[in-house]
């Protein structure tokens, strides 16, 4: 791999004397200009020169790398780098090694991840990717691009070896941070969105398993919106009635549950809120209102009572929404 020293200017480099640099704005005085450093201006002037001549060479790889390291969002530099790699037949594993380095410094850049995807599409060598992504998520556990890329790796290659440990991985991410919504979304992706994997053919059993998983997480942190949203997702996807969970949710909504008299019995199917939790949980009140609304008839009044308590007391910022739900109930 070529070592680049970003202090040297191409305009001082005799090896680049054959390239004519092209200034960005010729003859016009632009609005909203960026006041570039000399190094960036120099590199991009030569990059424009190369774009014009169409040169594809080793030194163009070095030039595009220099531009990218100064501005990883320079999608034209990425695009030209990719075309150059294809034209030269550059070893793609070397490119991935370089990308490992650049990705760690620029996690939030679209191009870093897409370039990797282009290379992987060629090499089809996905085996090392998941371990690399664990490392990257260690730096930023909610990085959107990293999660989307992981989901692409899994769904594009759809290889059982890649999928084997995915649920364990999600579990470990959720143990680290029970409120990491990216990890909750990934769990849903793995189990419900990306096709049926071997061992998950019994969809009813899977839904039961995931409902219990959600309940356990809700009992630890009853105000965690991610867990409630996941539970709703599982119920919606599996066609499970919300009312079947009323017994579990009632204690979280501060309502007397049917098993309240059996205080000594530990119900593993319906874990109780942990001490220290703030109750009632807004999500539980909302859930029970949904249950009552669905039951309709006389239960609508119970739903309205809960919406009113949300609007006036427990979730006042969403007053308009809860009032809307109340007026819309029974008419949708």
């Amino acid at each position: 791999m070529t070592t680049t020293t970003t202090t040297d200017l191409y305009s001082d480099d005799p090896q680049w004397v054959d390239v004519t640099p092209i200034p960005q704005y010729d003859g016009i005085n632009p609005v909203a200009p960026i006041l570039y450093t000399d190094e960036y201006k120099d590199a991009t002037d030569y990059f424009r020169g190369v774009l014009k001549s169409g040169e594809k060479s080793e030194r163009v790889l070095e030039l595009t790398e220099r531009v990218i390291r100064m501005n990883p969002a320079h999608y034209t530099a990425w695009q030209y780098r990719y075309q150059t790699i294809l034209a030269l037949g550059t070893p793609l594993d070397e490119e991935i090694t370089l990308m490992n380095d650049i990705a760690m410094d620029h996690l939030k850049t679209y191009q870093v991840w897409h370039h990797r995807r282009l290379i992987l599409t060629q090499t089809k060598q996905a085996a090392q990717e998941l371990a690399f992504l664990v490392k990257v998520l260690g730096l930023d556990n909610k990085n959107y691009h990293t999660w989307a890329y992981r989901q692409w790796i899994l769904s594009h290659f759809s290889d059982d070896d890649l999928w084997r440990h995915e649920l364990e991985f999600v579990d470990s991410m959720l143990r680290d941070d029970i409120r990491n919504n990216s990890a909750w979304h990934h769990r849903f992706f793995v189990l419900f969105e990306a096709g049926v994997r071997a061992g998950d053919e019994d969809r009813e059993a899977l839904a039961r398993q995931e409902i219990l998983y959600s309940k356990e997480r809700i009992s630890l942190a009853p105000n965690n919106a991610s867990a409630w949203n996941y539970l709703r997702g599982v119920l919606d996807r599996s066609g499970t009635e919300y009312s079947s969970l009323a017994g579990f949710v009632e204690p979280y909504a501060g309502l007397p549950g049917p098993t309240a008299s059996d205080a000594d019995t530990i119900d593993t199917e319906n874990p109780a809120p942990q001490p220290g939790a703030r109750l009632p949980s807004v999500a539980a009140l909302e859930f029970m209102a949904d249950v009552y609304e669905k039951q309709g008839g006389e239960r609508l009044a119970d739903a309205r009572k809960l919406w009113t308590s949300l609007a006036r007391e427990h979730d006042t910022i969403r007053q308009k929404y809860w009032e809307y739900r109340s007026t819309a109930a029974g008419k949708l």
Partner: protein
Amino acid sequence: MTALFSSDDCYPSATSDLQAHTEHVLSERRAKPRTDKEPSLDKNNHIQFLARNLLQGFPSRYTSQDASQPWLSFWTLHSLSILQVSLDPGNKQKAIDTILTWQHPDGGFGGGPGQAAHLLPTYASVCALAISGRPGPGGGWDQIKRDKVYAFFMSLKQPDGSFLVAHHAEVDVRGIYCLLVTATLLNILTPELIAGTAEFLASCQTYEGGFASSSQPYFSATPDSETESAKALLDKPRPPLGEAHGGYTFCAVASLVLIQSFEGQESTRLPQINVRNLLRWLVQMQGTAAELGGFKGRTNKLVDGCYSWWVGGAFSLLSSLGLAPPHEHSGAEEGAESWDDVDDALFNREALQTYILMACQHHAGGLVDKPPKGPDAYHTMYCLAGLASAQHTLSPSASRKAEIRRAWKNTGTGGLSASTIPPSQSDIDDEFGDLRKNVFLETLSWHEETGTQCILGGAQNKVNATHPLFNLTVTHSEGIMGHFYRQTIPPVSIRMKQPE
């Protein structure tokens, strides 16, 4: 009363720690308002920030935006428009001349001179021209190579109805939104261009109700289908890649409304999305009083001023997707006369303004994500656009649509030159005309009814409304569309009462 701060339920994690820290920082903003009076918008301060960026330039840390130069200009010009400032003719011309250097010879606009064409800078360039440009030589509008823009768009189209944002680049719904706005403004929409796109967008809705960046297509693997396009796209699985996100949600929802505007309300071809879940997710994104009512972009993430627009701005689009407005449920005993007084918004408009005015204004001018961050061009515009969407409610108006329809003149396609339309489609030219008339009437009939404004801090804080689909002012939307559809748009007539 409910406790002000959120609870970690005595089960802390990195997310709840960061949340508590942010709520603490924001509570200091609440405790120490900069004046004893209602919060005020420091218009002059922000205008100076914007003018400095536009005329003197951006400091070198903006090098990371070198491939987004059209955005820097669009954010700055549109911020000024929201603040009711227009450029003098000399600077307008300078802006036009700059923007035209970003046009790619093969169609579309790049992030700067010589850069490859890309959907995002194409939107930003065309919108910047909507603000600063005009018809005629040197005016910018007639120098846009629209047939090449169309060819560029078609070259990015994927078998699942999505689009790459540029050649060799990624697919995501931001690009689709940018493409559809551009095609709408320039009058180059065709059924061919948007075939399958609505289905792709619908597949990006996640179980939470919001939308993800993209989805993964699967194709039937029949042995005789060699090329992707020959294979049948499977309905399922079609997993979203990434979780529900404010930016992608706005782009997906606005795109669906644009497609619907083109195909007409009666179209049965549009895929179903779950509007109830979408509404639920959008309202859940508003932070509590401890977060001053700002919006976040994902579940369990922090509030950020830019989502004032991406999430706050999405509410006005819901009625177009079939969500019944609240007043339709308020009972038959209430007459239409009372509708004007009803605040239809399903989010807390006043709280959002509190967040923007108290947490997002930087003392040196410009607006920010959240304190103690510094201002930048992006957050300045999306905070201001969010403020506009909290102050003003624009909705599709049947009477405004009727006015524009009465003024409609059949002027031919006005759009692509005949040579651009494939011969196979020449027989549906008439249909094109109707579809383009549809999109013109639908997109320009968004209108603010009297009595629906909600301005925190008094009239001096008022900003211009921005079009819910384009994020341009109504004046700029009408100007550029009137030109490319060859129409004269009638002024809004003063009405005491809505006859709809």
